[in-house]
Amino acid sequence: METQLVLIQLVNGLQLGVLLFLVAAGLTLVFGIMDFVNLAHGAFYMVGAYICALLAAKTGHFLPSLLLSLPLVFLLGLLVEKYLVSHLYKLSHLDHVLATFGLILVFDTLTHYLAGPDGEAILLPAYLNKSLHLGGIQLPVYRVLIIAVGLAVAAALAWGVNKTRAGMLLRAGASDREMTSALGVNIDRLYRLIFAVGAMLAGLAGALIAPITGANIAMGNEIIIIALVVVVIGGIGSIKGAFLGALFVGLVDTMGRAYMDDALKLFISPVAAESAAPALSAMIVYIIMAVVLAFRPNGLFPANK
């Protein structure tokens, strides 16, 4: 049934959106608050996927592996921040680009060396590998679960940023670095925490997607670019922007790929539509980014400054 297909695509789009949000959240915070361009953020996504996959292979249990991968990626984020990234804040953006690109190479090579080039697959446990039946529509349970997790994290972040003291410090940090440190807050620890939480969220996204796409070395480098597009569209430093931007990009990209040829056929010949569709659907996210930037150079919800 047509509705069934459209709904599946919507679910896929939301799922992609939610994953992008998890990755983009850390990216936008680190860039907005510490003014640090972290190209290597995708590495945490990849590492989360690998840790979850390897643990699941060893123990045979998926959900515990996923939960265990979270503190592990958090720890990795802490270590990377403490021993490398914290020394880079004061340097120029050019140095950030070079260092984080170097970091990508290090992570990719280490993963290749330790886990081989072929990637790891995870089998979903039976109770997750089912479909939900809602009023005649079938929806894959796991994808709905991913969406639920993502929304829960978004809600938790929104609560944390708006209602807690740490969140207030975060928002203050986004608006005025000097003031925050003048207030006596331990800036170093705040930054370390922000970085590690961001890394953990990216790792969560990786672990969540691993049963669907498998863990592989290229995944980090692929996701980082779309995540950057989300950050740019949403506005640097803005979690709200990252959330709305991610959902928007996820939906547009998924629906675009699914229905681009049908949409084009309304305007041009079927043959032309078939050949143009793949190119256009891959590019649509970037075209939208360009259009948004043309009118709002600082994104849709810039944090400020």
Binding site: V37, D95, L98, G102, D108, L228, V232, A282, P297
Partner: protein, 318 residues
């Protein structure tokens, strides 16, 4: 911005001389492999020269310059599909398409903050990458070989010697262009806009216009490098010029010395040599290379040019 006789300039001229004379060495027995390495080096040096204009002199970090390599290369590959081998057409197409792409994307990206610019150029390059991947007719992700290298009437770039000197000539010409541009009013305004954009506005200049101009020239130069690359490798696939390649170009510019005349050549040389040596050593050479990048970011200021000119501190770098 003076131009005194400094160690870096001497070395630069020396390298150019060696490059100019290298083909003669092959007559007396030098392995043709080194000629190929030199061509590759020069092509990267041209690409880095282009990037240096917007990154070093302009102050905007483009993480998407590989897109211009792609555009320039496909300006040879696509006409090839239609059996067009006219070199002037290839080169002209490369120049026009690169300039146009730079103009359109630059108009949007240059209005944003510095850090956003990095992300946006990356995204636009990715867009171009996907565009070429999706073009199944022209090879898609598998790539396409080039059987009709650029023919300029008197010579054809399929011949290694002609390609070598054509590339060498381009390197000289484009380095000369940057040299003149940097010392002209345009260059001064560009540098001023990098150092103090607010001050430039208050002095009656519109930095955006100059930066866009620099971006267009920058992209075009790298597009020419792409044109040369297509003729050199005689095979093009989008993977050859992904965003890792953009990062490598940034590495070359930064290591050699951003906003210097000789930096791009030094950087390209270092990269080609490092890549060659390290990849012989281990399959996992990206690991030490990555660590090296991190070390450069943390410890080096001003790259090789600064290192070479350590003693002359009174005058700004050339």
């Amino acid at each position: 911005m003076k131009f005194p006789l400094k160690t870096s300039i001497i070395l630069f001229v020396l390298m150019l001389l060696i490059l100019g004379l290298l083909p003669f060495a092959s007559i007396i027995g030098l392995n043709a492999f080194y000629l190929d390495l030199a061509i590759r080096l020069m092509i990267f040096a041209i690409a880095a020269t282009g990037l240096n204009l917007i990154l070093g002199y302009g102050g905007f970090i483009s993480l998407g310059h590989a897109a211009f390599l792609l555009v320039g290369a496909y300006s040879v590959a696509i006409p090839n599909y239609y059996d067009i081998d006219n070199g002037w057409f290839h080169l002209g197409l490369a120049v026009v398409c690169s300039a146009l792409f730079a103009l359109l994307t630059g108009a949007v990206s240059l209005r944003t903050r510095g850090g956003s610019f990095i992300m946006i150029t990356l995204a636009f390059a990715q867009m171009i990458y996907f565009l070429f991947v999706s073009m199944e007719t022209f090879g898609g992700s598998d790539g396409i070989s080039i059987s009709f290298t650029s023919d300029f009437g008197l010579f054809n770039l399929g011949d290694t010697l002609y390609l070598y000197y054509f590339t060498f000539g381009m390197l000289l010409a484009l380095s000369g262009l940057i040299y003149r541009l940097n010392r002209s009013r345009f260059g001064y305004v560009l540098t001023g806009s990098r150092l103090q954009p607010r001050r430039m506005h208050a002095l009656g200049y519109s930095p955006f216009r100059f930066q866009l101009g620099a971006y267009v020239v920058s992209g075009t130069i790298t597009g020419i490098a792409g044109f040369l690359l297509a003729n050199f490798v005689q095979f093009i696939s989008p993977e050859m010029m992904d965003w890792f390649r953009s990062a490598e170009l940034i590495f070359m510019v930064a290591l050699g010395g951003a906003a210097t005349l000789s930096g791009p050549l030094f950087g390209a040389f270092s990269f080609v040599v490092l890549e060659h040596i390290m990849s012989e050593w281990t399959l996992y050479w990206h690991l030490p290379f990555g660590l090296f990048l991190i070390a450069i970011a943390v410890f080096s200021k001003g790259g090789l040019v600064k290192l070479l000119n350590h003693r002359s501190r009174r005058k700004p770098d050339a």
